[in-house]
Every structure is written in C-alpha cells, then in structure tokens.
Assembly symmetry: C2
Homo-oligomer: 338 residues x 2
DNA sequence: GCGCGGTGTTGCAACGTTGTAGGGTCAGCC
DNA sequence: GGCTGACCCTACAACGTTGCAACACCGCGC
C-alpha cells in the first residue's frame, strides 16, 4: 500500500535503481534527474522500507535492552541513559522486561526473540552463569551487573562486593557497632544480593565487628515495601541495630519510612545507607547516603562496547572484555545528619 | 550466515516450503517428515528471519512508545505498564525519547522513523495540535495526555483540568486560604501545565478564593530541583502560602524538601499536593497527597486501542476515539498529617 | 580515429519468507 | 474400474531493497 521505489521510479520516469541511488545519496546522479526523483519522492511521500533494507543484508538499527522492570527507578534511569547513548550511534532501543523470571531471561539469551536486533544489552537478575553460555553467537551481547563466570560475552559492572564493603566501612567509621543488612535473598541465583552480602561480611570482620546472622534480613524483592517490612522486623527485636545497610535505595527509603513512622531518629539512632544513588534519595527526608555506581557511564560503556563488536569482523572477534566502573560513596543526611 | 529455510530443507531432504509449513504449524505434514524437519531445525539452530517475514507482508510485532524522558518516574511507570500491556498482544516496545523537543516530536509523527513499527503510542509534551494532524496515515497512533484538537488519532487521558480542580478544592476544604501553584510554564505549547493551571484557577474562584498571580510559580521543567527552587521563592515572600498545589509529584517532593530544610512543618504550616501518584510519594516523609490517574489503566487502554486499530480494515476505520480515564485523589500525610 | 577513464543510468540477482496453485498418491465409494 | 476427495508435498512468484556488472555516452589525449 505505501509507495515503493517502483512507484517513485514510474512517476519520475527513471529506473528503480536510480531512485535507490538518489535515496542513498549516490554521487553520480545528474542534478536534473535527482531533482525529478526528489520531487516524486516528496509527492508520493515515499519512505524506505526498513524490513526490505534489513533483509538485503543491512542492520536493523535496533538494539534490545533486557531488564527486570522499568518501574524500578534504578532500571528506569539506566534505560534512559542507554537510550541516550544509543542515539549517538543512531540506534533505537527495544525494551524487554523479564520481571526477573529465569525462563524469560533464558529465552532472551537463547535467541528466541521474535525481532531482528543488532545487539543485546542484558541486565540479568536470576540467570546463573552457565545459562548465559548458551547465547547465540549471532548477535553480540553486553552484560550489565556482576560477572560470575567467564563466558563469551562482554561485561560492564562495578565491583559490587567492594562497594558494599565501602558502605559498611563508612557506617562502622561513624562508630556504629550493630550494623544490620537488608536485602539478602534465598535463591542462589540472586547474585547481586550475594555479592553485597559478601562485601558486608568482609567489611564487618575487617572492622572487628562480629557477624550476627540475625541482623541480616532477607527480602522477596528490592522494593520500598520490602525495606519497610524488614526494618519493622529489626525494630521489633530486643536489641535493634544502630545502622542499616540496604542493598538498594528503594529498600533504604522503605526502611527510613518505617523508622520515621516509629519515631526513631535518622541518623541519630539508626543510620541508613542505600545502594544505586537513584534520584529519589537526593531529595528524600532525610537525604539518603548511598553507593553511586555512575549509571550514565555504565550505559555509555555498554553501548560503546556493542558498537565496537558490531564494527569488527566476527571472524577475528576480540576476547570478551570486562569493564569495571568506579563507584563512589554519596554521603548525605541519612548517615551524616544535617 | 545464520541458517535459513534453505539449509534446513537441504538437511532434511524436503522442500523449502515444507520446512516453512512445519515451522508455522501447518497440519498436513506427515509425522515422519515433521520429525525429520524438526531434527534439522534443532541441529542447525534455525530461527526464522524476522525481516523476511515482515517484508512478506506481516506485522513487525513492534510498537513504538514515544515519551519525553524515561528518567522521570511517571513516564518510567507508564512505560513499564505499556510494556506489560503490549506483552499480552505479543508486542515488543521500542522506546523513543523526545526530551520534549518539538523537532523530534514532529519527526516521529511525520513518520521519519527508521524502523518498521505496527503502531505508535505517543505522549507529546511540546507538540501543538496542528502538527499532529500531519501524522502519516500508515501506522495507527494513540495519543496520551490531554487532547486539544480533534484530529485523526485516538486518544487516552484523564481530565487534567478537573483533576487539578479536585486537588485545589481538597486544599481549600482543609481551610487553606493562600494556595500557591508550582508548575506553570511560559511556552504556550505546554498544554499540561496550562490545563492544570486552568483547573487551579477555576477551583479557586469556585471556592471564593482570590486569584493571586504572584502565587503561581513558573518552572523550566517538572523535576524535583525545580520544585525545590520554586518553593524557596515562595517562602522568601513576606506572605508565604499555607498550601501548595504542584503540577506533578516531583515538583511536590522537591517543594517538601525545601520546606523541611527550612523547618516549615508539613502539612501544619504548608500543605502540599502533587499530581501523578508516583511510587516515591507513597513512601516519602511525609507521604504525598496527590492526584492518581490510574496509569496502569491508561496504558492498557492505549495498547488495546492500538490493537483494535490494527485489527480493523483500514478502509472502514472507525472515527478517532477519545477515552477519558477516571482519576482519584490519594490523600496522605502532606495534606492530612499523620 | 581510437582507446580510455569518468559519468549517468539500467537490468539482474539475491536477501528469506510465505501464499497460491498444482501435482502426485492413496483410500473409499458407487 | 473409475471418480472423488483427502492428504502430503513442491514449484513459483512476490514482498522492497541494494550490490554488481554492464552499457551508452562524453570529452580527452595521442
């Protein structure tokens, strides 16, 4: 129904190929011809057919971004940055929400996609290392988040364990002695939670503090409500903590809400640290101390990695690269006070 | 490079079309043949080529979602809901960030897209009515946000003006008499701001309160920082307001931050209302009273409308539909106290 | 006057898929 | 025995595009 090269060619009285040449900016086209063709293009409102172009051997100009859930602010911010970075390469971004379900993550990686994409940026939640190995060789993939196995894909991440340690060391440095953790997860597939927990334990022992398993609260998901409930459980103890390290900012904001509800002063009675540095924490009351992973940079690197992969000859592809991104502590009112 | 029907056919010793039939679940294929073909498919790791399928006349299975910015929580939540709703129709969602720039919004609508999409859901920020009329007839479009002109596209929205009025009436009902507004915008293209301002003015006069232009603060964008700055300006007045209606939740959260910074009690001295009901407001301190637009429902309706359009014969397309979605007031601590 | 390189244009094939039309085989029925 | 219809499979064309090879024409230099 929409006009094709054929229709434009007929109207301009030239061959299909000449129209194609005009469209693609081929130099050796007589000015008069070019003008006539252009006129026909405008008159008919011709637009190149993306599917045909792609079939002919080109790229689709689309990359997929697979993440657990856009509704979580960290992933929304990440997605925004990815889209921005992709624009610089003239790419458009397709969103795939996995909801952290193993099955859907597996499908993604094993290439059961319905759509043609040039590459995939994947922020796995549940997928264990081995599954990722089954990735199809066809489309390049960049993984976000902690690398746990050395497979065929590129990878961009901060050092989760070290970052968690930094957060706990900060709390200990403030003189806190009973530092709780919110965000542990039961499933062994919850890599992020495990790494942050490992950092927490390492830092505790480094600071000469005892590890008390009862101060570690597990959650179903990383939402505000989970943080609020976990904090409530901690406050119900006979010996509540004097600091809490939450494995992401949402948990921390939920925890703070519970603390304030119960009249517990933050940070005077309980200091709170988060992780991710989402925008909410910069304006909440109190503002939230947190680990800032430089998400914009992660996004840019991921997209650039993908671009490099697409530029290179698949035959002589370089070995998978692993990029560590620096993190920083953003210290605000929830640990320092006003 | 990746295997095609041809390769599978060769390996299974059948025709290309038979393989195609197996892939598409055509019934009249001998069990033996089917098994052999399936074996070849598995062995070669065959995946249908999306571009070729689409070229052949099918749909792409992709819809585009154009919105100003994923980093703004309301749009992130909206995008998440859209993706979820699209899944039910087996669609994947392509994200286009416009940053509210007129030029980019115009490009989108005029069909300068590089990619083949089945439909477009568009949340315009800056685009005036007339521009939208130039939409290409080819791909159906659903607009989100207030309709200001009656063009060829479907449309889903809440009644912005009425909703803003409800918010202001609530504040007036609490006995507030100097109700400020944060979020006015200079450009005439900022339709949302204009409508909420109109609702504000209408409700004021309805409640017998004078309209004081100096209580209306304009902002550059709808972010927390803008709300914080605007609130600061209001507090610097000789006669600060006793309530503030912010045109979205981010402005409100920024305003609250300023209030607390300056030791102003919320809501005792100044009550604050927002608009959008983003998740942050449900856990902030104080929790935020706001207008809740039922974003999930908006998303579902938008996608369903698109689905209907795609199902119908373009020749006998129904007239553009306009769906009003109900809004509700979520009254929380920022106006009611604890 | 002939060959040569640059210019402007064209036809053909191919990308991978599916709809249509048709060919062949076989069982069942008059 | 021949006809019908169901079943299984295949050949061909077409979707819209672009790379390649080729062609015709031109002016230039020898």
């Amino acid at each position: 129904m929409p006009p094709g090269l054929k229709d434009v060619a007929a109207r301009a009285g030239v061959s299909i190929k000449t129209v194609s040449n005009v469209v693609n900016g081929y130099v050796h086209v007589a000015p008069g011809t070019r003008a006539r063709v252009q006129e026909a293009i405008d008159a008919l409102g011709y637009r190149p057919n993306a599917a045909a172009r792609q079939l002919r051997g080109g790229r689709s100009g689309v990359i997929a971004l697979a993440l657990p859930e856009l509704q979580m602010p960290y992933f929304a911010e990440l997605a925004g940055f990815i889209v921005q970075a992709a624009e610089r390469h003239a790419w458009t971004v397709l969103i795939d929400q996995t909801d952290g379900q193993v099955e859907r993550e597996r499908n993604l990686v094993s290439g059961l996609r319905r759509h043609a994409i040039d590459g995939l940026i994947f922020s796995p939640l549940a997928l264990a290392g081995g599954d990722l190995a089954r990735g199809e060789a066809g489309t390049p993939m960049v993984l976000l988040g902690e690398r746990v196995w050395h497979g065929p894909a590129d990878h961009v991440a901060i050092d989760n364990t070290a970052a968690a340690g930094d957060a706990v060391r900060h709390l200990a440095g403030l003189g806190r002695r009973r530092i709780a953790a919110i965000g542990a997860q039961a499933q062994s597939s919850a890599i992020t939670a495990h790494q942050r927990l490992a950092g927490y334990r390492a830092a505790l022992s480094e600071c000469g503090l005892p590890y008390d398993a009862s101060l570690v609260v597990a959650v179903d998901s990383f939402r505000r409500a989970d943080g609020a409930a976990a904090m409530a459980a901690l406050l119900d103890r006979a010996d509540p903590p004097d600091a809490v390290f939450c494995f992401n900012d949402l948990l921390a904001l939920g925890a703070i809400r519970t603390l304030l509800d119960r009249g517990v002063a933050v940070p005077d009675e309980v200091a709170v640290m988060g992780f991710d540095d989402i925008e909410d924490g910069r304006f909440s009351s109190p503002t939230l101390s947190t680990v800032s992973p430089d998400t914009a940079r992660i996004a840019r690197l991921a997209v650039d990695l993908l671009a490099e992969r697409l530029g290179e000859d698949p035959a002589e592809a370089a070995a998978p690269r692993e990029l560590k991104v620096k993190h920083t502590l953003m210290l605000r009112e929830s640990t320092l006070g006003r």
